[in-house]
């Protein structure tokens, strides 16, 4: 069944460094989304990338999508302490509008 699996599951970096998170999924998709969850809060949509896009930018975020490898990556450049959160990729269930969330990746940015 479809599931987004983030890698690594945890990452600790210093402020100013870049953070890269990888996501693998199992079935073909038209779109893939990334979400962020701050501690004790609900998830917040970050970015959506379509299957005909290889790369997309939003501020300090850069998302790539490789449909041939069924993988996506989220790069946060010049990280800040406020970027400390869990990050989830969310591929859709095949042919459905339902999204599947994995376990997430916990990013800690140390000041």
């Amino acid at each position: 069944s479809q599931q987004g699996e983030e890698d690594p599951q945890a990452l600790s970096i210093q402020e100013g460094e870049n953070a890269t998170m990888n996501c693998s999924y199992k079935t073909s998709i038209n779109n893939l989304q990334w979400y962020r969850q701050n501690s004790g809060r609900g998830l917040v949509h970050l970015i959506l990338i379509r299957s005909n896009e290889r790369e997309k930018h939003s501020g300090r975020l850069r998302v790539t999508l490789d449909t041939s490898k069924k993988s996506s990556s989220l790069l946060i450049t010049a990280s800040r302490a406020a970027d400390t959160a869990s990050y989830f990729c969310a591929p859709p269930v095949s042919g459905s509008e339902k999204l599947v969330f994995g376990k997430g990746m916990k990013l800690t940015v140390n000041p």
Binding site: P92, S94, F101
Partner: protein, 116 residues
């Protein structure tokens, strides 16, 4: 504009008690969802609704019931709570429609439920 509001935010129940979690959205969204989040398990879909008066089972529906009598509200009920239902519950909504995977979800802040 409140977005998605969940009530209550915290609740402690005894095994066997019943309760209802309320989710309200003010964005005129068609679709609404209930997820639960447990340590090491990620978010799992319990039930969802694609419009007023409709409900459907998600990945982990057992022990829960839902109702969508009004478009803006989605209720999640536990008829006989069990310790395994201790979790953080999130409601989400979306406009729905469109291409698979393009459905952007707006989440509530969560409801933390403990069943003793």
């Amino acid at each position: 504009n409140a977005g998605v509001t969940q009530t209550p935010k915290f609740r402690v129940l005894k095994t066997g008690q019943s309760m209802t979690l309320l989710c309200a959205q003010d964005m005129n969204h068609e679709y609404m969802y209930w997820y639960r989040q447990d340590p090491g398990m990620g978010l799992r879909l319990i039930h969802y609704s694609v419009g007023e008066g409709t409900t459907a089972k998600g990945e982990v529906p057992d022990g829960y019931n839902v109702s969508r009598l009004k478009k803006q509200n989605f209720l999640l009920g536990l008829e006989s709570a069990a310790p395994s239902q201790t979790s953080v519950y999130f409601c989400a909504s979306s406009s729905g429609g469109g291409v698979s995977g393009a459905n952007v979800l707006t989440f509530g802040a969560g409801s933390r439920l403990t069943v003793l």
